[in-house]
Every structure is written in structure tokens, then in C-alpha cells.
């Protein structure tokens, strides 16, 4: 047709090539959408808090304040942590939430176990499950005594 020749710069395309070009252009333009989604999802990811040393190591208190066989619940940081003194020299630090439904655990000095008040779960001094529904053992944290003070590493 006469009008088709007035199209100045666009060559005649076979249907196959046309489809291919369309597909290619579609892919090219959809990169905008991909980029957009990528920016938004990266933005929404909660940042790693670039915490200083002060937040990675918590001073729990003097060793002498924690009697043998007792434990203290450290309430700083993301979750509570139990610091237990099973005997004169050693310290154990375990995560303070049950791996079942995230109830906060209680320390039983007689049984020397961490008991969960919700569904009768219990953990031993290594964090392993003694009884009840918890599916996983408790996370252990590094704890040490320096100059008579208990230092708990929470990084």
C-alpha cells in the first residue's frame, strides 16, 4: 500500500522477527519492574545493626553476685539469655526462650534444668531437650569471667 512506504525508518519485519523483537523489548522494559522490586525489597530488609563492642559483649555483673547453682536472666539485647553457674568455676549461657512456642524459660536449681511454663518442656545445662514438645536444643552463648566480672558475648 502506498501509505506503508511513508513509514520512514521502520523496516518490514517478518512475523517471527516481529514477535522476537516484541519479546525482547518486553524483557528490556520489564527490567524496570525488576529493578523497582529489587530496590524496594532490599530497602525493606531490616538492617544489620552495626552495633559497637558495647552491644556485643554484656557485663552481667560480678561473679560473686551469682551463687553456685543459681542463674540470672539477662534482659538486654534481642532476646533474654540465662547465665547459669552450675559449680564454683564454670558458667553456662543459654538462650532463654523455648524453641517450641518461644515462651521464656525458668531455671530450676534443684533439677538443674531450664523449664518451660507453657507446655512442660525442659532443657538441660547443654541446652538439649530433656522432655516435652520443643523440637530443637537451645543456642549456647559464650560467657567468661574477666577480673571477677561476668562477660556475656551476644554477637
Amino acid at each position: 500500500m502506498a501509505e506503508e512506504s511513508t513509514r520512514d525508518d521502520l523496516p518490514e519485519l517478518s512475523p517471527g522477527r516481529r514477535k522476537f523483537l516484541q519479546w525482547l523489548t518486553g524483557g528490556f522494559l520489564s527490567l524496570w519492574g525488576v529493578g523497582f522490586l529489587w530496590v524496594i525489597t532490599s530497602f525493606l530488609k531490616p538492617p544489620q545493626s552495626k552495633s559497637s563492642i558495647a552491644e556485643r559483649v554484656i557485663k552481667v555483673g560480678p561473679l560473686d553476685d551469682l551463687p553456685v547453682g543459681q542463674a540470672r536472666l539477662v534482659r538486654r539485647g534481642r532476646e533474654p539469655i540465662w547465665v547459669i553457674r552450675p559449680d564454683e568455676e564454670n558458667l553456662v549461657a543459654l538462650a532463654g526462650v523455648c524453641t517450641h512456642m518461644h515462651c521464656v524459660l525458668d531455671w530450676d536449681p534443684k533439677q538443674r534444668s531450664l523449664d518451660c511454663p507453657c507446655h512442660e518442656g525442659a532443657f538441660d545445662l547443654n541446652g538439649n531437650v530433656l522432655k516435652g514438645p520443643p523440637p530443637q536444643s537451645l543456642r549456647r552463648y559464650r560467657v567468661e569471667t574477666r577480673l571477677g566480672e561476668i562477660h556475656l558475648h551476644v554477637s
Binding site: 530496590v39 524496594i40 532490599s42 530497602f43 525493606l44 530488609k45 538492617p47 544489620q48 545493626s49 552495626k50
Partner: protein, 374 residues
């Protein structure tokens, strides 16, 4: 494939008034045809396609759509920022610093939000000046004008409240100056100060959360409402200032051209915004100290002119008179279409560029004076 698609459309159209929903969505400048919501969606769209499309050969017509797009960008970036911002005086700056430092693309989103706001206000100002020059306030377009000015005002307030949120030194004192200026206007000022936290010009916890609420919910809602009303008027009246619809060219693929035009516009706008965000970042500044005034900080730039006016007239006019003059000037500006001389006559066709230039010169002079005195 088309069969399935229409199946879906019909499924919905039997359960919802799609035409109504569709016309609501397109009330934001996509295209300007009125849709009869009693008709089936397919018919309504076919009808709309047959209507003439707005043409952007006269480039100033694109300002309205630009404003809508910019507002959309502001809403998206603002919502993203709201995921991390904490609106109390103690945590505000720290949370903004977290966004800038720790969140991926945090700085980018924040800068786009800032520059988008500045561009939005600039676009709206140019739009209002254009209305003034083309007489787009003449009957029956009085409401177009009023909505346009009110939208500009809402965006000013949005910028004002948003600026105060990071609680940095310059932001804090800039907002305090703005509050003082607003407070000097009788009645309106007292009402505003009351709403913003009890009539004081110090930004407390309560004030900050009210700023936050205004910025995040009430003002955007007002803006969206105004835009909806505005385009509702455009649909009734047509786009051009001559009062008649454009001569119809054709239907069919014209809507695709129209959509493509908008896509190109959006792309160019995005380019400008991203370039500004990367090349001209604005700094955060130190935390605000209510007991330590940062020297040389004045109200935000668009309020410098009224501020300059108040400073200029302070030696010989009491504050309340100056404030009343400001208030009356502003009210006259809003109700321009109803003023004598603007309804019919020469001025109804728009102010000549001489007068507009003179008004702008006065505005710029007062702005510079205000900046120097701040």
C-alpha cells in the same frame, strides 16, 4: 486467550460495578473521559477510547499529570521511609540516620523523597502561574483554580511537616520559624498552632507526632481528594481553556499513544529525580537542641516571602496588622475568580505577562529579603 481474559472480566463485572471502580482509578489524570457507570465495563471503555485524547503538544498541559506522578512517587517513597522512621524527638534523628547508613538504598529512597517534594512544589507553582496567565479561573473553571491553589497549599504544608520530622538542628529551627510566622496571623494562626500542639512554638513530643500524622495521613488524603475533585471537574469541562473539547481525532490505538506519552514522561521524570538524588544529596546535620539556636536558619524557602514581608513591616506595623494583611492577600488569591474584574473583562482572559512578572518580582524580592534577614 482473549476468551479467558474476558471470562475473568465478566466474572468480576457481575459482582462489582467495574465501571465505577475503573472511573475512580482513572480520576488521576490517565485519561479525561467521563465514564457512565451504569454501562458495562467493556462498553464504557470502548466509549472512552472513542473520546479525544488529551494532547500534550502544548507542553504546559502536562503539569497536572506531572504533579500526580510526583505525588505517587512521594507516597511510595514516603511509605518506604515510614517502615523505619520513629516519630519521637529522642529517636527521630537516630532512625533517619539508620535509614541513611544501614538500610540498603536507604539514602537513595530518602533523597528521592526529598527531591520529589521539591519538584512537586515547583511544578505546582509553575502550574498556578500558568493558570494565572491563561485565565484558567474564568467561569466555569473557578473551582479548578481553587483546587489548584489549595493543592499547592497542601503541598506546602506537607513539605513543612515533613521537613521537621528528622529533628535535626536546621529542620527544627526552620519549623519553629515557620510556626512563628503562621502564629502571627490572627485567628488562622492561633487555630493552626492549637492544632499543631497547644499553641506553643516549641516542637515537643506531641507536636512531632501531630506533624507526623499530618504528613503521613491527613495531608496526603487531602491532596488525593483535591486531585480527584480537580480531574472530576476536568472531565466535566474538558481540558482546554477554551471551554470546548478538543476536536476529536480518532479512537483506537490513540489511547496507547496517550499511555506511551505518559510512560515517556514518567521515564524522563525518573531520570531527573535519580540524577538529583545522586548528584545533589542534602546533608542530614546534627541533632536538634531546643536550647541552642542554629544561626541563619529561616523558614522554608516558600515561606520566606511572607516572612520577609513581616520583617520589612515590623518597624512600623504591629504584628497583628501584618498578619492580617498576609491573611487577606492569601484569601484574595484563593478566591481570585470571584473578585471583581476577574469574572469578566480583560482580566478574565488571564493576566498579562507584565503583571505576572511584576508579581513574581515582588515575591522574589521579599524572598531574598527574608533570606537575608533570617
Amino acid at each position: 486467550m482473549k476468551q479467558e481474559k474476558s471470562g475473568a472480566l465478566d466474572w468480576f463485572s457481575r459482582r462489582l460495578n467495574l465501571t465505577e471502580i475503573f472511573s475512580l482509578l482513572t480520576s488521576y489524570g490517565v485519561f479525561h473521559a467521563e465514564l457512565d457507570s451504569r454501562k458495562n465495563i467493556r462498553e464504557a471503555i470502548a466509549e472512552a477510547k472513542a473520546q479525544p485524547m488529551p494532547s500534550y503538544d502544548q507542553w504546559p498541559r502536562v503539569l497536572g499529570l506531572l504533579a500526580v506522578v510526583l505525588l505517587l512517587i512521594e507516597i511510595v517513597t514516603g511509605s518506604l521511609l515510614a517502615f523505619y522512621y520513629l516519630p519521637t524527638p529522642q529517636t527521630a534523628r537516630a532512625s533517619v540516620a539508620t535509614i541513611l547508613r544501614d538500610v540498603d538504598f536507604g539514602r537513595f529512597v530518602h533523597q528521592i523523597h526529598f527531591w520529589g517534594a521539591q519538584l512537586l512544589i515547583a511544578v505546582l507553582i509553575v502550574r498556578v502561574v500558568r493558570f494565572l496567565m491563561k485565565g484558567v479561573y474564568r467561569k466555569p473553571r473557578e473551582l479548578m483554580w481553587i483546587f489548584g491553589v489549595l493543592l499547592l497549599l497542601v503541598c506546602f504544608h506537607s513539605d513543612l511537616t515533613g521537613k521537621a520530622l528528622p529533628m535535626t538542628g536546621t529542620a527544627y529551627w526552620s519549623s519553629v520559624r515557620a510556626l512563628e510566622l503562621v502564629g502571627s496571623i490572627p485567628i488562622y494562626g492561633s487555630v493552626m498552632l492549637f492544632l499543631l500542639g497547644g499553641g506553643e512554638t516549641v516542637i515537643t513530643e506531641l507536636t512531632l507526632i501531630r506533624f507526623y500524622l499530618l504528613h503521613v495521613a491527613l495531608l496526603p488524603f487531602a491532596a488525593i481528594t483535591l486531585i480527584y475533585l480537580h480531574f472530576s471537574g476536568v472531565r466535566r469541562l474538558g481540558q482546554t481553556e477554551t471551554g470546548s473539547h478538543e476536536t476529536p481525532t480518532r479512537g483506537g490505538p490513540v489511547i496507547r499513544i496517550h499511555l506511551l506519552n505518559q510512560a515517556i514522561l514518567f521515564t524522563i521524570l525518573l531520570g531527573i529525580l535519580v540524577s538529583l538524588a545522586v548528584l545533589v544529596p542534602f546533608p542530614l546535620g546534627d541533632a536538634a537542641d531546643p536550647y541552642l539556636t542554629v544561626p541563619g536558619v529561616g523558614p522554608p524557602w516558600y515561606l520566606l516571602a511572607p516572612f520577609g514581608f513581616m520583617e520589612l513591616t515590623a518597624p512600623f506595623l504591629p504584628t497583628w496588622i501584618g498578619g492580617t494583611i498576609l491573611f487577606l492577600t492569601f484569601t484574595a488569591f484563593v478566591l481570585l475568580p470571584f473578585l471583581p474584574g476577574f469574572r469578566e473583562g480583560a482580566r478574565s482572559r488571564g493576566l498579562s505577562w507584565v503583571i505576572v512578572a511584576a508579581l513574581l518580582a515582588v515575591w522574589i524580592f521579599l524572598t531574598i529579603y527574608g533570606a537575608r534577614v533570617a
